[in-house]
């Protein structure tokens, strides 16, 4: 919940009535408004008494702390979320996906898994990757674990998560990989031994075995001076995942419960050995607030599923996704090509573009600027009507590009055919299918008919 300007004002000099303008704003209240939107530094007011300043700092602190992991192009930003439901405001930082390597697996498996960390999956002009690597010690040999850590450091520049229950093993790995700023997993069993020996600026994942025991673990880490925290309530089932993640988010945002004011982690890998089920749990975790999601392994198909979901859930709910309004070409469109019309709403465009390509027939696709509306909405608001279509056909000089002059309009706006014929008298206007999936069949029929007529 955002801080109210009136609550801030009460803590400003003379109860927020000094209005001396030294902060550069007309009144204390204006300054308070700026503070509420985090648009100005507290220090701009020279008259704040230390107690009020401390109180204001606490008040203005992000309810969920930002934590940055990884380095360079592999940097991942987590936390800072402000809402519980995505229609309220965009979920800000998409969760990081992590793949787990264990010291017992050996180099062949390591190499296979690390190769996946360089996958790049592109969709809607955004690239998705597996962001982090979890290094798990499952043998009892500290040497074996160090070997894994060193091997992975050489093999990838992705951010690292260290997970070893034995304190000495974990600390040795931390020393070795310090330059990479790893996220160190700490549990109730090893916190006393580990926490005092980490740098105060180390990134730490508090891994509890239940939501109830998590605050205690967080407090111990904070007492040791550690502040860059990720928290894991240890959920192992779908119901626990929803409960734990929901209560953490709610406690942080609505109750300002500081121990839960950090990005979270979910280890799907610990929930089940079945990879498909791990991915389903991971999918639930994407929607339900997890900051880091760990799977044991993943196929390209499964990764595509998760990456697509992450993109869906983390889109801005208020802005429809669009593609550039222009003429797209398919299958080496030439003089023989037909001309198709659709809108710049990304989902409509991708459905039509995919099928235009599948059809294997040369085609131009006029993608109209509608501000991201689907066909019917664009039509009913006057953004996909005979006038706008004719204007684009003329502006793009389509008449010179094709011999056929066959213009195919979406089946959903069949009713504009007559008016469009008047706007474009030289063109043959054809009503296409209502659904994109029927486009290849339709184009095929059209071609057969043309050839039959010739």
């Amino acid at each position: 919940m955002p801080v109210k300007a009136s609550d801030i004002q009460k803590l400003l000099p003379e109860g927020g009535k000094k209005n001396c303008k030294e902060c550069g704003l007309a009144t204390c209240f204006a300054f308070a408004m700026k503070l509420a939107n985090t648009g100005i530094a507290l220090e701009k007011c020279p008259y704040l008494v230390p107690e009020s300043k401390a109180e204001l700092e606490e008040m203005l602190m992000a309810p969920i702390k930002q934590v940055v992991l990884g380095q360079g192009s592999r940097q991942v930003v987590l936390g800072e979320e402000e809402v519980i439901y995505r229609h309220q405001k965009t979920f800000l930082h998409p969760p990081a996906f992590a793949i787990q390597l264990t010291d017992e697996e050996g180099e062949t498996v390591w190499a296979e898994k690390i190769a996946k960390v360089s996958w790049q999956f592109e969709r809607l002009a955004k690239v998705s990757r597996i962001d982090l690597v979890v290094l798990r010690s499952s043998s009892s040999s500290g040497d074996k674990y160090l070997e894994l850590v060193k091997w992975v450091m050489a093999a990838t520049d992705a951010g690292l998560i260290l997970a070893a229950s034995d304190a000495e093993t974990l600390l040795a790995a931390y020393e070795v990989s310090k330059s990479r700023d790893p996220l160190v997993c700490v549990t109730a069993e090893n916190v006393e031994a580990v926490a005092p020996r980490l740098d105060p600026n180390a990134a730490v994942c508090a891994r509890a075995t239940s939501l109830e025991s998590l605050p205690g673990l967080v407090e111990k880490l904070k007492d040791a001076g550690l502040e860059r925290l990720v928290i894991d309530p240890g959920s192992l089932k779908l119901l626990d995942l929803v409960r734990d993640q929901t209560l953490i988010r709610r406690a942080a945002l609505q109750h300002k419960f500081r121990a839960f004011g950090y990005p979270t982690a979910f280890f799907a890998v610990d929930a089940t050995p079945d990879l498909s089920l791990q991915v389903l749990l991971a999918a639930a975790a994407v929607a339900k607030y997890a900051g880091i999601i760990v799977v044991e392994d993943i196929s390209e198909d499964l990764f595509q599923v998760l990456a697509t979901l992450r993109q869906d859930i983390y889109t801005d709910p208020r802005v429809p996704p669009t593609v550039e309004s222009k003429v797209y070409t398919f299958n080496n469109a030439d003089q023989e090509a037909v001309v198709l019309v659709t809108t710049d709403f990304a989902l409509t465009y991708y459905a039509v573009a995919g099928e235009a390509e599948n059809s294997k027939q040369p085609a131009y696709l006029l993608c109209q600027d509608t501000g991201g509306l689907c066909i019917l909405a664009a039509w009913s608001t006057g953004k996909l009507v005979p006038e706008t279509i004719a204007e684009m056909v003329n502006k793009e000089g389509m008449a010179e590009k094709v011999k056929l002059k066959q213009l195919i309009i979406p089946g959903l706006v069949a009713r504009i055919k007559g008016d469009l014929e008047e706007e474009l008298p030289d063109w043959e206007i054809t009503v296409g299918p209502k659904e994109a999936k029927d486009l290849p069949g339709f184009l095929h029929e059209l071609k057969k008919r043309r050839e039959g007529a010739a």
């Binding site: 089920l277 389903l280 929607a287 859930i313």
Partner: protein, 293 residues
Amino acid sequence: MLEKFLDKYPGMIREFSFGANGNQVMLGGQNALPFHDFEGASGKPMFALEITDSKPADWAGALREIYADVEASPVAWAQKCATVYGADAVFLNLDSMEKDLSAAEIASGVKEVAGAISVPLIVHGLGDKEKDEAVLPQVAAACSGLGLLIGPVLKENYQAIAEAALEHGHSIIAQVPMDVNLAKDLNIKLGKFFPLERVVIDSLTSALGYGLEYSYSTTERIRLSAVVHDDKTLQTPLIARVGREVWKTKEALQNPQKGILWESVTALNLLLAGDDIIILRHPESLKLVRSLL
């Protein structure tokens, strides 16, 4: 210590049941958000498999292979879904309405299917205002007393279909295009003569990667209005036609294994958002999602 973070919700989803004597299923009764068992009754989802009453010519190849032995007979197909794949209900698409079949013939086909299975039947028209209005009331009459769930009922044709459903003891699916307020409007209109205890909302579904976020948020908002804000007009179960949308995506068509995951993940996320009845096409997706719950 965590008690102080728990919420109590004022609203409750109406108890809803459909199906004929002996094969009735119960839904509704939730007084908490989906999967919030820690705060109240969060409900148990129901899964239906989709079939069609004419040759599924436009279905994905992978699906047609699975149902090849039964696709010519809606009765056999429905039985396979219920007994072999364990669907909680069968969702029958009346694609035969596109053909030159009389409404009476279509309706008697539906009756045959309903009588042949031991799970409830959901019957769905084309979403074409006139055709549905001509056929669905006849289906309702022919299947009088069988407790079908019939849809879609649109703001353009709700009167005729809902009246027939009311007379013959069926429930209905109120369908609106992805909008909380439209769902509310239609239920208000229906509520004037039709018991909302027998209404399910379909706010239209889109697949993962093809607008899932819109369905997700619409569904979530409808459920929030019902449970958190106690909006009586929206306190009905929600239905999502997942299979149909997923099995026309290129991901599913190119690679059926990926299709199963696509369908499962779409279904799971809509369950998280608040859907109660999930319509699937691939039995493997049904198995996968169920194994998680």
